[in-house]
Symmetry: C2
Subunit: 229 residues, 2 copies
Amino acid sequence: MSKFDESRERLKNKLLEMSSLVEAAIECSIRAVIHKDQGAAAEVLKNEARINSIEIEIDGLAIDLLALHQPMASSLRFIVAALKINTNLERMGDLSVNIAHSAQLLIGTPAAEWIVDIPLIGGLVQQMVRKSLDAFVSGDADLALSVLASDDAVDALRTTCYHQLVAFMEKDPRNIRQGLNLLTVTRTLERVADHSTNIAEDVLFYVKGVDVRHNPPAGHNHRPEDGNS
Amino acid sequence: MSKFDESRERLKNKLLEMSSLVEAAIECSIRAVIHKDQGAAAEVLKNEARINSIEIEIDGLAIDLLALHQPMASSLRFIVAALKINTNLERMGDLSVNIAHSAQLLIGTPAAEWIVDIPLIGGLVQQMVRKSLDAFVSGDADLALSVLASDDAVDALRTTCYHQLVAFMEKDPRNIRQGLNLLTVTRTLERVADHSTNIAEDVLFYVKGVDVRHNPPAGHNHRPEDGNS
């Protein structure tokens, strides 16, 4: 194995470590909400520092790879994708902390989780997270595309939840604080789904060399302009 | 001017164009909320496509610079920072669209803006945006540091708003929808401030070569680990 391949493997392994941690944090934060599980919430808060420190390590590995090996084409795209995926993973870690905080606020309130189907959205979002990370590991463009399709389902579900929660709050003002916390949970889960979508787009860019953000036609638009120097 | 310097100048100019557009979008979206200005909201929605397409152009310029010139040290850090700042600017563009949507929902509702001081938070956030972008343009580390300090003020203000809006909604259930829209605006402004903080951190990384994310001590932690290959 060349020095470059070794360093690239190390970067990939660190990203895998990071993604396992983030996936666990999201799973744990959803569990904290659904089962009012104080221990699960505490675990999410405890693991945040580790995620933050790996983020910095990964950026360092990627920058060293760029500086020492001057990679081209697919290898260069892999490293740029790694930098972007890293940022998304760290934000997802932050969002799991937000969900854990909401879970703590919901502990001790009367059970009203039936108002919105958190297990359903949570399950969908976790599936997106897992698929986007699997797509990265295996370089599977089709799997990445399937993540983009799921995003609409999560958005639709979140809109339904919004209306259900507004009705719940309007019925009795004593429901407002609890309703707001549940709203924060569904909104935050939607943002986790958005980051999975970003990761899927980064995977497509790395695997296919095509930028699918903001719809395909613009994706061929990224060459330097001639008249602009 | 060498070929590399020319390309770097072109990247910098594109980022400046992007940041002017994003700054204008945020300003415009805040105006739409404060003055219930339908035209301002429409302008934000109209400009989103331009921001999205420049994001893709900027990534392309940065990747070409990496591929063709294999930059080192400060030049390499500049390009990595450009990639990250670009992502943050695009998200800020998205957030201005969210604010414009909330503004549209608020048009036609009875004036309740006095409940929370949107002009105050909006002004603070716009100041952070401007400072973080000025810090990037001038490579001014002190200015970047001043952005980090402002983030706490915005967070505190947002917490105050949250409690004011909960009280407003609890007083009369008919206030709930309007209260939720105002809550979305303040929450979104806080997220814009977070992205300015990210940009300031990217500037510090580029100017000083130090990673200040998640507090300084971890910032020296980004070398590849020896036993991990």
